[in-house]
């Protein structure tokens, strides 16, 4: 089987546009009539649902930002009553408030199909055993791949994260064919194999599905070698659905967007005007296939480009190029979204001055984060054990706020370089 839904994945441009136009009209009407924020935004923009006739009219619509979602915490963005909601996910927020996303039964089906199309494109089949090492929980990674895998009828093993040696044993004993996790965890599994003296070729593993954090072509080659597999990228974000918004095919040169569900645009990050195909800009999605939260022109802050060149795989779905950065200061550390403001919040809560610097690096293919904090007289003690206890407390505070570990390093006052009077907040030394 080459496609999960051939009819859609190879649809002609005209047919796709007709479908998108129809769905956009429905989504706009649903937003305008059920979400007060959207009624206000459309009224302010002077746009009525009746003004939206084709997908081209999408440029008349106002944008949605992550701040809109935060301001709507927890459920104000929902366009359906709670009775129709069957699932709620959430992702990290900047100062404690999470971004909440609701799904109807149909939304789960849409998301599952998006993931299922991806898995088939990678060459997976219903006879495969899927080893899902993404975290399960509020994070969409685990359940997204889980539903995708079940949708194609594969045997799904919800291993979740942690205890790598046990994971390797399960993979070996269950004869897993497909591994789903973050690319950095895949590298770590590769190292664990080496440590356990297991030849990757002795495993049945054939395909790796990696996402939730940025990775490079070099990493792909390393992972493919370390695990003796084909490694594929999967893209998604919880605000839009989760993994399966877009996916690579065997060509491994761009991700086909499930554009009948999630309509992509690229806009200039400053003017917010659409840019031509092939040009980089901010990636924007409109959830035309969703009911509970059909976001209009959601600004992902990811920098990408679209290409409609004919793909040898036969899919006509538009391709987005692998995101090459962000238009905001969000960092992705081991698959977890981290905003510098969250870290500042923790530092201030310990009564320290907000003179800090976040240093991100990659050691043995795992992201590391060190937070340098300038020592102040108030905080200083002549006893090392006091300073170490304080470091530990801040480190624990960061862990609980970010859900990812950070090393705390105390440095001398004024030792963090200032640029135009402001401390340089983030140093990302990962070459990605």
């Amino acid at each position: 089987m080459n496609y999960y839904n051939e009819h859609i994945e190879t649809a002609s441009a005209d047919k796709m546009r007709a479908l998108q136009s129809e769905r956009l009209k429905t989504a706009v009407g649903r937003c305008y009539n059920n979400v007060p924020l959207y009624k206000k935004k459309l009224d302010e923009a002077g746009v009525k649902p009746a003004d939206i006739k084709t997908i081209d009219d999408i440029i008349k619509l106002p944008f949605t930002t992550k701040q809109d979602l935060r301001d709507s915490y927890p459920f104000d963005m929902f366009a359906v009553p709670m009775g129709d909601i069957v699932r709620i996910h959430a992702s990290s927020g900047t100062t404690g408030k999470q971004t909440v996303v609701g799904y109807t039964k149909n939304d789960i089906d849409v998301w599952s199909e998006g993931a299922a199309r991806s898995l088939i494109a990678y060459g997976a089949a219903k006879t495969d055993v899927f080893h899902v090492s993404y975290g399960y929980g509020l994070f969409t990674g685990g359940l997204g791949l889980h539903y995708g895998s079940e949708t194609i009828g594969a045997a799904t093993v919800p291993v979740s994260a942690g205890n790598t040696e046990r994971q390797v044993e399960i993979m070996r004993d269950f004869g897993s064919d497909v591994l789903c996790c973050t690319p950095s965890y895949a590298m770590f599994i590769g190292e664990t194999l080496k440590k356990m003296n297991i030849d990757p070729k002795s495993l049945k593993l054939r395909i790796g599905i990696f996402g939730a954090e940025p990775w490079t072509e070099n990493m792909r080659l390393e992972i493919e070698k370390a695990l003796a597999i084909d490694a594929y990228d999967i893209y998604g974000l919880s605000e839009v659905a989760g993994p399966g918004v877009s996916f690579e095919c065997k060509e491994k040169n761009g991700l086909h967007v499930n554009e009948d569900f999630f309509y992509p645009e690229i806009v200039d990050k400053d003017t917010l005007e659409p840019v031509p195909d092939g040009e980089y800009g901010e990636l924007v999605f409109t959830c035309i296939g969703k009911e509970a939260m059909p976001l209009l022109r959601y600004r992902t802050r990811d920098v990408s480009a679209l290409t409609r060149e004919k793909c040898p795989c036969g899919r006509t779905l538009v391709k987005m190029l692998r995101p090459k950065g962000r238009t905001d200061d969000m960092l992705i550390i081991r698959g977890v979204n981290v905003f510098p403001s969250q870290i500042e919040h923790v530092i201030l809560s310990f009564g320290m001055e907000p003179n800090y610097q976040i240093v991100v690096d990659r050691e043995n293919n795992l992201d590391t984060m060190t937070v340098k904090i300038e020592m102040s007289e108030k905080f200083f003690s002549d006893e090392i054990k006091q300073l170490e206890a304080a470091q530990k407390k801040i480190s624990e505070g960061l862990m609980s706020a970010l859900s990812v570990s950070a090393k705390v390093r105390l440095v001398e006052p004024d030792s963090i370089p200032r640029s135009m009077g402001k401390a340089v907040r983030v140093v990302d030394s990962r070459r990605i």
Binding site: E377, F380, S381, D382, E383, I384, K385, V411, P413, S415
Partner: protein
């Protein structure tokens, strides 16, 4: 019954200790004793100097993190077993020593030992009772 110790936060990087002590030299501060406690990333330089308040001001002006603490100083006879005896007496009295360091004095027959303890008065009383003489700021310069 105690003397003033200056503690300084020093990041572990080449030349840093030279810079910090250079600041003292430029200002004519006399160092009588010092000890360095270190971790992988930073150290704490502890100093006994002739002008503690001035030293603190100088550090403040140079944006070097420092503070001043009263620590206990005792004269210990320069004979084998004397220091062990002082430590034993403190331990037996339930006093724990956070850290200690010693320095030689112009008087040949004794050394001065700095003890960092939670309660200077209590530790001082214990040592006095055992026959150790306590040192004041004026005794060391």
């Amino acid at each position: 019954m105690s003397i003033k110790q200056i503690s300084v936060f020093v990041e572990n990087r080449p030349g840093r200790l030279a810079e910090i002590t250079g600041v003292l030299a430029d200002n004519g501060i006399d160092i009588r004793a010092l000890s360095v406690a270190d971790t992988a990333e930073y150290g704490i330089l502890r100093l006994i100097v002739d002008k503690p308040e001035k030293t603190l001001d100088i550090f403040k002006q140079s944006n070097i993190t420092a503070n001043v603490k009263d620590v206990l100083a005792a004269a210990v006879p320069d004979t084998p077993g004397s220091f062990a005896k002082a430590v034993r007496i403190l331990t037996d009295s339930g006093i724990s020593i956070e850290y200690a360091y010693a320095f030689i004095t112009p008087k040949k027959d004794q050394a001065y030992v700095i003890f960092r303890v939670a309660d200077n008065d209590k530790a001082g009383a214990v040592l006095s009772r055992a026959g150790f003489s306590l040192i004041e700021q004026d005794d060391i310069f």
